[in-house]
Symmetry: C2
Subunit: 209 residues, 2 copies
């Protein structure tokens, strides 16, 4: 009946929903407690303050991301097939962002608010970026990809294209009168982006349909 771990877990989950929905200052500790079915007192017992609860939520989300990235890295770090690696990274990104809408929202808020130190620390450890960078550099060296690519710009483009599909999905749906939140549209977007990026990166003579 009494279980500190479970209670913490429920608080964390409710907090993730509330903070990603309403932001730090918009979020209500009372709402979090109501949703979690936990007494307000426990927030302070377990987390210390609203702010520390927010940080815990953020930390938790970055953990999930890091976990996926590690798996991806292990699978592909020795792959010679540049195009497969790029495809896999895009696919992984799409899957993660689709499965974790609150991650998308929290990251948007981090971009708006101040980029908490925690985020800075996590960004610096990110693996997928390094994997992608190495894949592109290897592809350029081996002649699979164009030789004159600006690697940083390519990374920027690719990362940005994945993330912003999800972060601007609402305004874009209105702007283009299409529901981009459907699975069908998400899959389509992934396909289009992958093809576009590959066709841009590939050497001309290796161009395929």
């Amino acid at each position: 009946m009494r279980n500190a771990e479970k209670t913490k877990e429920r608080l964390l989950q409710a907090a993730e929903a509330e903070f990603s929905q309403s932001g730090f200052s918009g979020a209500r500790v009372d709402v979090i407690c109501r949703e979690a079915n936990v007494n307000k007192r426990m927030v302070y017992a377990y987390f210390g303050s609203k702010e520390k609860l927010y940080t815990a939520v953020l930390h938790n989300l970055y953990q999930r991301l890091a976990h996926r990235e590690t798996a991806l890295l292990e699978e592909y770090q020795n792959s010679e097939d540049t195009e497969r690696v790029i495809e896999a990274i895009i696919a992984d990104n799409f899957q993660f962002l689709k499965d974790n809408p609150s991650f998308v929202r929290m990251l948007m808020r981090e971009n708006l608010d101040q980029i908490a130190d925690l985020s800075v620390a996590m960004f610096e450890k990110t693996n997928a970026m390094n994997l992608l960078r190495r894949a592109i550099e290897r592809g350029m060296a081996s002649g699979q990809l164009k030789a004159d690519l600006d690697v940083d710009q390519v990374l920027l483009t690719l990362t940005t294209l994945c993330f912003s599909y999800f972060s601007n999905i609402h305004s874009m749906s209105i702007l283009m009168k299409t529901d981009f939140t459907s699975d069908e549209q998400i899959e389509k977007r992934e396909r289009v982006l992958t093809q576009m990026m590959l066709s841009y990166l590939r050497k001309q003579e290796e161009q395929r349909s």
Copy 2:
């Protein structure tokens, strides 16, 4: 000494700064008043409520955008040169987003919060999107561009790439250890994006260096 118009204007400007900085619930009416050097009472006399003040700020920003877009439309709506039109639209987007960081922030917040009715209404009137659509369709018909493009996806890509450079500029600067806010980097990004999009859209045989 007393001037209702000037007072309103000062309030609006201070409100734009405060709302885009802190969001609706994070923004403090007292801060807006202090910055504007205006008594709190006047917010309620002139705008009615915090919420209506927010709406006025948003409206004002959309007006600025619409103004630019109309000018762009007049200049390019009859142009036959698809590539020049695309270049001009990207250039205009970059200029506007660079000059109006609070627009970027407010739009991010609209995406996060709920997309106010006002935003929906403004999105529906947007001109640059239609101009771009027509330019691409014309380019496809005339054979300047690939014939099998998915126009909606291209519009999505282009709009997104411009906006998200500015909206994610902070996390990206950290992630890639580069200050993307400098004029130099902004110009570089515009150049790279323009070239990338054009090289992707062009028919293969018309490919240039």
